[in-house]
Amino acid sequence: MISTTILRWKFMAIKIKPGFLFLVILVPALLFRFGGLSIRPMHTDEAVHAVKFGELLDNGVYLFDKNEYHGPTLNYMTLIAARLGSFDSFISLNESILRSVPALSGVMIILLLALLAGYTGWRIIITAALLLAISPAMVYFSRYYIHEMLLIFFNLAFIVFLYRYIRSGKPAWVLLSGIFAGLMFSTKSTWIIIFAGQLIAFLITVRIYGGPKPVRYMPSKFTATHIILFALSAAIPSVLLYSSFLQNPAGIADSIITYREYLSRAGADGLHIHPWYYYISLISIDSCSPLPFRADLWIFLSGIGGMIMAFTGKSTKSAKPSRSAKPSRPGEPGCNPIILFTAISALFSGIVFSALPYKTPWNMLYFYTTMVILSAFFFVQLLKNSGNTPLKAGYMALVTIIVLHLGWQSYSDNFKTFASPCNPYTYAHPGNDLLTITNEVEKVASISPEGKDLYIEIIVTDNGYWPLPWYLREFPNTGWWGEVNMEVPAAPFIICSPGNLPQLTKKLYEIPPPGQRRLYIPLLEHDPELRPGTEVSLYLRKDYYDRYARSNNRVLEY
């Protein structure tokens, strides 16, 4: 009886109340993105952006740097979040408020899909929304204070609004599309790769669906005025943001010059050079999981299936794209232009990002997002084509397993192994040792006469002390050094990487005259790691140590 019911189920629920289902999907999306946002230690990149934002929050100053930090949107969006949350200083900030910006972007990506339902049908949209809501990669990087999720959000908004404009001709859509194009441009240089793929996809899609006249399905009110409107709406936010709201006009030129820097560094940083199959390996296997492969692999494989369907037009029994075919209407089977566009841009971005030697896990996110949409398309077509046969029950069981696997993987990645090296999305990620260091600094400050004005010297080779500046933001008298500075007096509390020990010894025991060579004591028995492979030692001057030991005799477990 139950199986019969399942077999007869024809997505009626989706047809009846798609909006309700969409809202239901938002629940796990919100929980996964906003739950326990502060549990993961800050990554170096997050800390760098946080400190950069701190300058804006504290001093009201943001200056675009064409060499570092990417674009200004992350800073200004965070400023809005901080103001709404009544955070008025860098010191008062916490991880949750910073990460709420990408987290909200992650949710907005899902919400935007609803605007395409009229062109693809709710089934694809709801399936894609569900997959995005629980996708391990999308969840992980929605909880990461970097630009990537904003870039995906702005890009998707640009595309969605542009498509709605193309289909409706209403200037409001082209205005919105322009604004988000400007925001996309103001976020991160990699937008250009995404955009290039989308331009190619657009031209091919228009060619296929537009027949001999490429603009056949362009709106009848497509006018030069709209082009100007688009250009202005794109230019104004980007000019305002890059120029720090006209306080730094040089930022406008720098927003173009930055691409020279971007191109010169694309293959130069050996730390981020990875083989072409790097992204596939990320989503395929990990050593955390007892299962033979990661849940993301389902997305990738089904996305490939969706891509093949889109290219071959064999997604349905009858649908084969033809030059004369009009875009499919809601509920109609077939490969519509949105799916074809997605497939082409996915292929392009997948090839380009894999070919570029410079790779970080978050650079795959645009490709990943398009694969989620193609995956949704694949599953919907698979179920649709299977009719009311026992095969359909099998497919539905498979989809259920995949959803459960994705949900479990997301939970594991984001709430259990969020900083573990076995999690492929961790990228030289600091672990709990970082919190140990911070706790020790807090304890020493609590017993020192100077309190949080305690003078701390932090010496880590190649200035590799990040993300400590974030964690020690309440300590204004902290000196940050890439090597030992002999000119400044030795601090009572020193955090030093092993490579700098000879110089530190010279500073402590050779340069000072006799009678001023103070005794230091290692604060921890085992040197903690700032990041995997980057150990530091904590040294406390003995008089401070004596206070420390007196104040809390059980702190040190020697």
């Binding site: 005794l519 290692p522 003995k542």
Partner: protein, 214 residues
């Protein structure tokens, strides 16, 4: 108590870089003679006894106990024991290893027989039972009479009973860890240690004194 990681790191670093090195001194501690430390001493400005072990102090590589087997003098003849036991390397709390001096203000002086940069001094007065010694003052000088060029490294004589100045350091409870004093690399040949009785009796005791320098 061992610190393999710290040692290994420092040894490896030392093998690669022929520069100044810093290393933890592995001070061999005597057997503890009592468990826990009573805190009901009626002593002003007493350091809270801590049960956790003391971490190793870091010092330039190559420094040693330059007081080992060096001559020792005292302000008066010992009541029991012999002065050479203060620097004989035996830190165990036995009646054989302890030297007892008379009641009142007494001091012992160690002649290092050369001028050294002194980084740390460790004192074991008496750790057979928990007790606090009064008016502990530690000085270093090139002058055997301690008249000129005297460096006071530790002074918990908070009432200036010895007339050497008001001390600001804390009293402490004797344990097998001894009392580690930061000598700040001071130069000197003679090390003098004062005291004036303890919480159990009026006498002054020394089991061992180590002076680390180069």
């Amino acid at each position: 108590m061992s610190y393999p990681i710290v040692f290994t790191t420092l040894l490896l670093t030392g093998g690669l870089v022929a520069e100044a090195q810093m290393e933890p001194l592995d001070i061999e501690l005597p057997r503890p003679m009592f468990v826990g430390t009573p805190s009901n001493f009626d002593v002003e400005r007493l350091e809270e006894p801590h049960e956790a072990g003391r971490p190793p102090f870091l010092a330039p590589a190559g420094i040693t106990n330059v007081a080992l087997d060096k001559p020792v003098y005292s302000s008066g003849e010992p009541r029991t024991g012999e002065l050479w036991r203060v620097t004989d390397g035996d830190k165990e709390a036995t009646s054989y290893s302890v030297v007892e001096l008379d009641a009142g203000h007494q001091h012992v002086t160690i002649d290092l027989e050369d001028v050294f940069n002194i980084y740390a001094i460790i004192i074991w007065h008496y750790h057979m039972s928990a007790r606090v010694y009064h008016s502990v003052v530690v000085q270093v000088s090139d002058d055997p009479d301690f008249i000129f060029d005297v460096h006071t490294l530790f002074n918990n004589d908070i009432n200036n009973r010895l007339g050497l100045g008001v001390g600001e350091d804390y009293h402490y409870v004797e344990t097998n860890e001894g009392k580690l004093i930061d000598a700040m690399g001071v130069e000197g040949r003679y090390v003098r240690l004062h005291s004036m009785g303890n919480t159990d009796n009026d006498f002054n005791h020394y089991i061992e004194v180590e002076v680390y320098g180069n």
